[in-house]
Symmetry: C2
Amino acid sequence: MDGEPGTETLPSLTEVRAAAARIAPYVHRTPVFTSRTLDEALAARVFFKCENLQKVGAFKARGAVHAVLCLGEEEAARGVLTHSSGNHAAALAYAASIRGIPCTAVMPETALPFKLAAVRAYGAQVVLCAPEERESACERWRERTGAAVIHPYEDPRVIAGQGTAALELLDEVPDLDVVVAPVGGGGLLAGTAIAVRAMRPRAEIIGAEPEAADDAFRSLASGVRQPPVPHPQTLADGLRTGLGALNFRILRDLDVRIVTVDEGAILDAARFHVERMKLVVEPSAAVALAAIRRIAHELRGRRVGIVVSGGNTDLSWLLRARGEQVLDRLE
Amino acid sequence: MDGEPGTETLPSLTEVRAAAARIAPYVHRTPVFTSRTLDEALAARVFFKCENLQKVGAFKARGAVHAVLCLGEEEAARGVLTHSSGNHAAALAYAASIRGIPCTAVMPETALPFKLAAVRAYGAQVVLCAPEERESACERWRERTGAAVIHPYEDPRVIAGQGTAALELLDEVPDLDVVVAPVGGGGLLAGTAIAVRAMRPRAEIIGAEPEAADDAFRSLASGVRQPPVPHPQTLADGLRTGLGALNFRILRDLDVRIVTVDEGAILDAARFHVERMKLVVEPSAAVALAAIRRIAHELRGRRVGIVVSGGNTDLSWLLRARGEQVLDRLE
């Protein structure tokens, strides 16, 4: 399912709007926040669409719910299946619970305990495997159960669902000049690009990516999808995934620009969210703020929307950042 | 200024409404959040008024801004002064900056560095002194400068300002059966009681207090204001202050009930805010959620509003709570 896409239809604004109507009863219309401190520092106006306050703590609820609601009765009855160590597994478990259908998440034995617990709390079955066997374990389960595999980002239904966050943001703040979302596999950024390019044709669309996992940057720069960095060392654990083929095509066609940021900038941005804005964000989400700070000189006087992608974190990065000071207080 | 109040007029809903109009340009209308997980656990509907997202990170901005806006031109020109180690000093500094008048905060040498920095960041002068000399140092500064002392909670202008949070909450969710706010000095709870009792006469008004600093509970139970616990050992650092005389009278007259909670319950509630709701709250704010959990059996089927008082914390309590697990990850 990760090959070059063929003839399938790319989702358009029509699909994003349809997804928004379908998922509305099951997801939050998340709030949009601003920070005067930040606006003054950047001489710009920044609007944060807070998907960290979304169901399951991340935008992933949108795409997963949409994909599950799109399944026919018979297909749905066989259940859904995915392999993911992160938010998509929890989102799919939540989505399956809405329809009352079985959900299986193939997860690596190395997954963080709080992530396993979240998936189980939504009623999904967790199948543990060695990290390198995730795809094959998933395929064995599919053969045995006939469950529908819902890919975390290479799926037009998922992409249309993720685009609903930007749709809501533009409904609330129509006159944005720039819209920014983080990019890993690319589902959120592709969905965002589809909504923004159609509703606000001249807006700049920016994908924010860690330098340490910069395959989207290299792919769009070269015009050919590049292999992901192996074992990328970034705090932004949700963005270690390589850009999907379908999403690459969407980003390229819709003229999306990638801005990369280093680890220090990601950490600083995440701390700003927590310490100044009082919002718990995961480092992957903070990459977007880090990106606009990096290109602040281009943004003076402009109106910038940011999709704050999620808030599922144990905050251990914050503890590390405070280093000695924190260790002292721990006694 | 901490003696028994005499003939001064207690604020009423009229003053709270006037305060709301005056401060509106300078404070946030904070959002109201809900949590389905919590509602299901309690079989109730709970509405969180998020003053942790307020200017300066706490409801204190409301009272301080109102008090400063009430000053006459001549009085204001001599500046404002307070002694506080917490949010009120930052709030007053912010309020003074709005009018462009001087602000001095007498703070103990033991105040946390991030709190000193916040006060200075709003342009106030910080005068450090030994913790036990705060009142006398403040008095010396008043004599020297003629600045107006703005008490953190025993001031009708401050109380009216604090009441505007509950006013907004009831504007947005009119049919509340119960409204809860934390109680330390009592300014927030008194202002809340004034607004709620007038707008929703039959609603239950609850003050949430740490067991370890339970003077408001003992005062209302006995009908006579009781001395505060000396050096109370509670995580809720904003609630270590004893209940003020003026606020005691207001709480007693408006039939406010106090619910106390132990330290474990405060910690659990604070973790729920951060880990499940993705909101950074200070432990003093979490006391309110802890209180409704304690009396959950009384709340089934009812609609409960909570003023989440602030979000200024270094999260060190979260780190401690995670104990060994965290230390391991710090290497």
